[in-house]
């Protein structure tokens, strides 16, 4: 155990986390240079493109330190978005220390601080690392000052490196050995391991990624997942020596994997405790939270023929994403589809993008919704997350919506802008504090519906990226709600229906209409777009028809050319959804979800 170090790299986006990880992997020699690919831990295209890590990853780096001893450095890579903050916290639970990476040009940024606080919450050893010192604009001294004044850390504890050029990487590896404490724990104690991730392998089923806190586990053991309440026989355990190496056992302090014949990742829960069935630990490890979807939306194939394919794709996708849930749904305008639950809007976007990319499907998403609670006049309590199931208005005795407690941290100069945004989002019971000079912590209660809409994007925008954000769902509160319908040439498009706070219904209706106007191409006839509550039209826009669209010449040589163009246009139209006679492009459905500022 003395030779193990478990750590994570945390950083603001683009500060070089993946590049540093790549360098350390190369330095450890676990992967041959010729099979090396940049950003090796970000295995999905979407991760590489967006520069964010979505799934946690772990890798064991063998390292011989300057004193000649052999160490196993377990690097646990964590996702970087509020939708996945629970996964991040579980990953950090598995570490004893972190590298806090700071860009030498940009200095301390919002996520640097937010991540630092999270690491502090887990009592981790923090090693500040100033990256990109090779850049001409690098200002190491200024960053050192910020480490002192803004982070409250000892600036002399900071290391410098250029992950790009590979300088300083040895010092970092050495510091991990010297400064991050080895894990504690008793290999003889009853088994207690925390699951920080689970991945699906088509041949082996679920690969549990875990940190052994106490005890030992080996092949043949019978283990129990405490919160899930299931019992499994361990088939294989091992370490993350690229990509996996089977070992006899995992013991207290180890980070590794367990394969136990578990079919899908949905059969395990992140944060759950694995213990021995025969000799269980006294109580589960702390910090478990059931991961629950908070945002719901329906997914429809653009071509109704693709329904079966979509069903297969969702089933496959689900194998590797436990936090994604779905069930059958249907829409008058869009046909057969699925109602899905997500952790947040980013999660939703990721699912959408992966379905389109990895399964080559064209899909449409309905407007996302939270789960509302209605008490009917006869006393029935109804949870509704789908506008299609909005109860008859006269039968509603009480309507409620979920509220969250949000905590945000940002430099003092943005206080006015953030407060204004929160007020617009119906924030209440705000509480401001000053955890360090110049830095504000705002705790405020807000309706979840307004937060999922575009809050995080706008917070980042008003704080120029310095605002960090985290939230917990607290309770349901009474609210005046309405069902906003969108009509295109008089036909209701149910995928665009939204349950809204009555006070902002008109504005939301208008914004939706305007968004659609921007996205729906002009056609040969006038298109009326209306927002309606009950029978009342509350907003309206029209798309005027085009008047001239004809090729002047069409003789022998033009006929094939023209036909090919039409064939292409027809194909393009297949990617649009026909509502009555109006072709609505997929982008229109997406645009409605976006705020005007993004």
């Amino acid at each position: 155990m003395k030779s193990i170090r478990n750590f994570s790299i945390i950083a603001h986006i683009d500060h070089g986390k993946s590049t540093l990880a790549d360098r350390m992997i190369q330095r450890s020699g676990v992967i041959e240079a010729r099979s090396f690919k940049d950003q090796i831990l970000d295995t999905m295209d979407i991760e590489r493109e967006r520069g964010i890590t979505i799934k946690s990853q772990a890798i064991t780096l063998p390292y011989r330190s300057r004193d000649g001893k052999e160490y196993s450095l377990n690097l646990i890579d964590t996702p970087g978005h509020v939708d996945f903050s629970y996964e991040v916290s579980r990953s950090l639970t598995s570490c004893e220390g972190v590298l806090l990476l700071i860009d030498a040009v940009q200095g301390v940024q919002a996520q640097t601080v937010a991540n630092l606080y999270m690491a502090m919450e887990h009592d981790l050893e923090i090693i500040p690392v100033i990256n990109k010192i090779d850049l001409p604009a690098a200002d190491v001294e200024r960053v050192m000052e910020q480490i002192d004044s803004e982070l409250g850390l000892d600036p002399y504890s900071a290391l410098t490196c250029s992950a790009k050029e590979g300088t300083g990487v040895d010092e970092i590896m050495e510091a991990i050995v010297q400064r991050i404490p080895p894990p504690k724990g008793d290999p003889e104690a009853p088994l207690a391991a925390v699951i920080f991730d689970a991945q699906y392998d088509p041949f082996r089923g679920t690969i549990i990624h875990c940190r052994i806190v106490e005890g030992t586990v080996q092949g043949g053991d019978v283990v129990r997942l405490i919160h899930t309440g299931t019992v499994h026989k361990v088939e294989e355990v091992g370490h993350f020596i690229l990509p996996r190496r089977k070992d006899a056992s995992l013991s207290a302090g180890d980070v590794g994997y367990i394969i136990a014949g578990i079919k899908t990742v949905s059969d395990v829960q992140i944060g759950d405790t694995i213990t021995s069935d025969r000799r269980p630990c006294a109580k589960p490890l702390p910090g478990f939270k059931e991961s629950k979807p908070v945002v719901f939306a329906s997914i429809y194939p653009i071509a109704s023929d693709d329904y079966e394919e979509l069903a297969v794709a969702l089933e496959k996708y689900k194998l590797n994403d436990a936090s994604f849930v779905y069930q059958k749904d249907s829409s008058v305008a869009l046909g057969q589809g699925f109602r899905c639950g997500f952790l947040g809007l980013l999660h939703l976007e990721i699912v959408q993008e992966r379905l389109e990319r990895e399964y080559d499907l064209s899909i449409i998403l309905s407007v996302p919704s939270v789960r509302y609670r209605f008490t009917l006049t006869d006393g029935t309590v109804l949870f509704v997350d789908n506008p299609a199931h909005y109860p008859d208005a006269v039968s509603i005795a009480r309507s409620e919506e979920p509220y969250i407690r949000a905590s945000m941290m940002f430099p003092e100069r943005y206080t006015g802008a953030v407060m204004k945004l929160c007020k617009e989002k119906r924030g209440e019971n705000s509480h401001l504090s000053y955890p360090s000079p110049g830095r504000i912590e705002l705790v405020i209660e807000m309706p979840l519906a307004d937060v999922i809409y575009d809050f995080y994007d706008r917070l980042k925008s008003v704080t120029q990226g310095y605002g960090s954000f985290d939230y917990d769902i607290i309770d349901y509160r009474e609210s005046s709600l309405a069902l906003l319908d969108i009509l295109v040439n008089g036909e209701r498009v149910d995928a665009l229906s939204q349950i809204v706070f009555r006070g902002s219904a008109r504005e939301r209706g208008l914004r939706t209409c305007e968004r659609l106007k921007e996205e729906i191409p002009r056609q040969m006839f006038k298109i009326a777009i209306q927002g309606a509550i009950g029978g009342e039209i509350i907003s309206r826009t029209t798309i005027s028809p085009f008047r001239k669209d004809v090729t002047a010449k069409c003789y022998g040589g033009d006929i094939t050319r023209k036909r090919k163009l039409l064939e292409k246009q027809k194909k393009g139209k297949k990617r649009m959804k026909m509502v009555g006679s109006v072709a609505i492009p997929q982008s229109a459905f997406v645009a409605v979800l976006k705020s005007e500022n993004t």
Binding site: V550, T551, C554, G556
Partner: protein, 372 residues
């Protein structure tokens, strides 16, 4: 209906800034071209035998010497059979149409002449890179009349950078005063490979906007129909049904046609093929008796349907719904009823006496109509 025959004469003295029809300025290659053309005719002897239209297009067919035109026509008559009342059209540049040339063409058997006037405004003509002026155009038309042409067509262009509606109306007025049997009024189409297309991409010229193009189109139709012309296709007007271009209508109703010469297209009813867009290659291959075909496509039922739909909707006579259903297996009112009703309500099409026809506004958007 009998097939039509098209001959592409790929020569021009100068290239116009907007034109992307295939042509070269190497007039010294005319004799070998005629030689190869004659060989190409032989390839279709017995494949196509009789025609009731012949169309000499280009390029600039009028720049051929009268003997050369005569030689082509003689060879055609030796190879194929032509109906007695065959419509024989020749495209002519006003600059070429001297009294003598006009007479010779008429004498060679040409009975329809279509003159590339383009505009009666000298500034506009210079901008387009034409080698004639407005006075020359008027003279050419008079020459054609004097030579005995009873069927004279004029080609005009609108929507030219810098051209306003007033100047276009002036051109139309001038054209009407010459009482042609046929008028083709084309909206300027920018082809990317032309000098004008390049200028446009570099932002050096600005085209009229959609609303203004609609005005050009609408006023053209209104003015000419007011003067007694039938707006029978998007860009074509005839002073009575008998003056419609019999040859061009074959393109629009899927009648077979044979095209000879480089870049010429042919259609058999299900197969379409086209020749190399290279004079040298054409001369070489056809000269050796090899079909100078660049590509062939066999149209699927679906493709034929789409073509019939879009071609039909470009013409005022529209689509015979019953015949269409019989031929293509699609009952439009049955299967596209809701949309057709909207288009009718919007005044874009009418359905009367079993025909689906575009209205004037419908013709203006007829590229979109077939997407229904």
């Amino acid at each position: 209906m009998m097939p039509g025959l098209y001959i592409h004469i790929p020569f021009c003295l100068t290239k116009c800034a907007y034109c992307d029809f295939y042509s070269v300025t190497q007039t010294e290659k005319i004799p070998p071209f005629i030689e190869s053309l004659t060989r190409e005719m032989d390839l279709y002897r017995g494949v196509f035998d009789s025609f009731d239209t012949l169309y000499l297009g280009g390029g600039t067919p009028s720049l051929l010497e009268t003997g050369q035109t005569g030689a082509i026509l003689d060879a055609l008559r030796r190879t194929f059979t032509f109906a007695d009342d065959t419509e024989v059209t020749c495209e002519a540049n006003p600059g070429d149409l001297s009294r003598e040339t006009a007479r010779a063409l008429r004498a060679a058997g040409i009975n329809r002449i279509t003159i590339g006037v383009q505009s009666f405004d000298d500034g506009t003509l210079a901008f387009l890179g034409r080698r004639h002026d407005a006075a020359g155009a008027v003279e050419a038309i008079e020459n054609a009349r004097q030579a005995g042409f009873a069927n004279v067509g004029l080609d005009l262009i609108y929507g030219i950078p810098g051209q306003d509606l007033a100047s276009w109306r002036e051109t139309l007025r001038e054209a009407l005063s010459l009482a042609p049997e046929h008028l083709s009024c084309y909206q300027l189409t920018l082809e990317p490979s032309t000098p004008l297309g390049l200028q446009y991409r570099r932002g050096e010229v600005v085209l009229p906007g959609e609303d203004s193009l609609y005005e050009f189109f609408f006023q053209t139709s209104e003015t000419l129909e007011g003067a007694g012309y039938v707006h029978y296709e998007v860009s074509n007007f005839a002073r009575g049904d008998e003056w419609m271009s019999r040859h061009n209508r074959k393109y629009w109703n899927h009648t077979p046609y044979l095209g000879l010469g480089p870049a010429a297209h042919s259609f058999s009813g299900v197969r379409r093929w086209w020749n190399h867009r290279s004079l040298d290659r054409y001369i070489a291959e056809a000269g050796r008796g090899i079909p100078p075909i660049a590509e062939t496509e066999i149209l699927t039922g679906e493709q034929l349907l789409l073509e019939a739909l879009y071609l039909g909707l470009r013409t005022r006579e529209g689509i015979d719904l019953e015949a269409f259903a019989r031929r293509h297996g699609l009952d439009l009112p049955d299967e596209r009823g809701a949309l057709l009703r909207i288009l009718q309500d919007e005044g874009l099409v009418t359905i009367r006496e079993g025909r689906l026809r575009p209205t004037r506004s419908g013709l203006a958007v007829s590229d979109s109509l077939p997407l229904l």
